[in-house]
Symmetry: C2
Subunit: 210 residues, 2 copies
């Protein structure tokens, strides 16, 4: 039986498809939107409408960007000699929330996972190595998630960078560090709070030292 | 400092204005939307865009409606001899979730509140009385919220209906009932779960009996 007016039901269906939004929550949001100014609803509609068309990957770090470079890569105050390697763009935002980090990022777009068919070519490993070849990078912080696959990805990146150093393709050898296990093991980086992330960044260790 | 690409920041700002959506939640939703199919995002954008333009009050009960009558008033299987009076359209949905009620509704659009300047003319009291005058209504369930103002509104409606009966304006005297206090007193009807609402409906009492 149809219990809601159709335009309302359509909105409820669309809202319920979002993560963490159940039927009751969707209804609360929908009724809120029916009450507020239409301008506010149109702003949300417009932001959604334009989202995908106007967002593309940063050509340097693969973070979400409007122009060629994301706001972080484009910011001259950021320390370009440090690159923090993360799995997803959402991890960049999690680390930014910690307020502890002032270098640049590199978004892999996933982590190595033979089981899921994610190999070297599915994530932006080559682009990372290219960045190191061209660059002034003195430290690479490996901030992939503290899971089996995240750890394996970090180790593989360390191996690839050591290879580059051995073959003399890097002008200087960057320091390789791994984000500290202040994070709950097996957890998702994006869920961690800023304080925990700040501690994990401060406690980072040299790869090979632990 | 700008940390997000502008279109993303715009969406985050719009999402954070919604009730119960904090910065972290907004970010989770935004990143989800960046990952999913554009069709899904456009559907949500479209639903929002069309919402206000295509929704209007039902001419009979003032519930949200697409056409002249809301889906409940238009449903011939609903019992038109029972009218449940509620404060808001969201209360209709809360009662519908209980699955216990098969009559019609009347949405007041608020409750009497001298302090907030809500008097008889600010809510759809006259329309309710007009419905009773024209109609075949045998029971009016007063389901305003169990708060001081909600109770006062229910009592005032009871008084008005008794007046109509006394002056002979009603062909038959409808039974007047009040939704039972299975609801937590002072609570908001919209927050109650279906079971509690079902119990409150089953335990409804005749006005004047308690």
């Amino acid at each position: 039986m149809l219990r809601y007016a159709r335009p309302l039901q359509r909105l409820l269906n669309a809202l319920e498809r979002l993560p963490g939004i159940g039927p009751k929550n969707a209804q609360r949001l929908a009724f809120h939107l029916l009450r507020v100014d239409d301008a506010e609803v149109q702003e949300l509609a417009g932001a959604l409408h334009d989202l995908k068309a106007s967002i593309r990957p940063c050509t340097q770090c693969f973070n979400y960007s409007e122009g060629e470079h994301c706001p972080i890569c484009a910011d001259p105050r950021r320390d370009a000699t440090v690159v923090c390697v993360v799995e997803e763009a959402s991890d960049v935002m999690a680390l930014e929330r910690s307020g502890e980090y002032h270098g640049l990022y590199h978004v892999l777009g996933g982590r190595l996972s033979p089981i899921s068919g994610v190999g070297h070519d599915e994530i932006s490993l080559d682009a990372l190595l290219e960045r190191l070849r061209n660059g002034e990078v003195r430290e690479v912080i490996l901030a992939t998630s503290p899971t089996v696959e995240g750890d394996a990805t970090a180790l593989e990146i360390a191996r690839l960078i050591e290879n580059l150093t051995r073959t003399g393709e890097l002008s200087a050898t960057p320091k390789l560090t791994r984000i500290a296990l202040g994070l709950p093991v097996g957890g998702d980086l994006d869920y961690a709070d800023g304080l925990t992330l700040a501690r994990a960044l401060r406690g980072r260790t040299l790869v090979g030292d632990s």
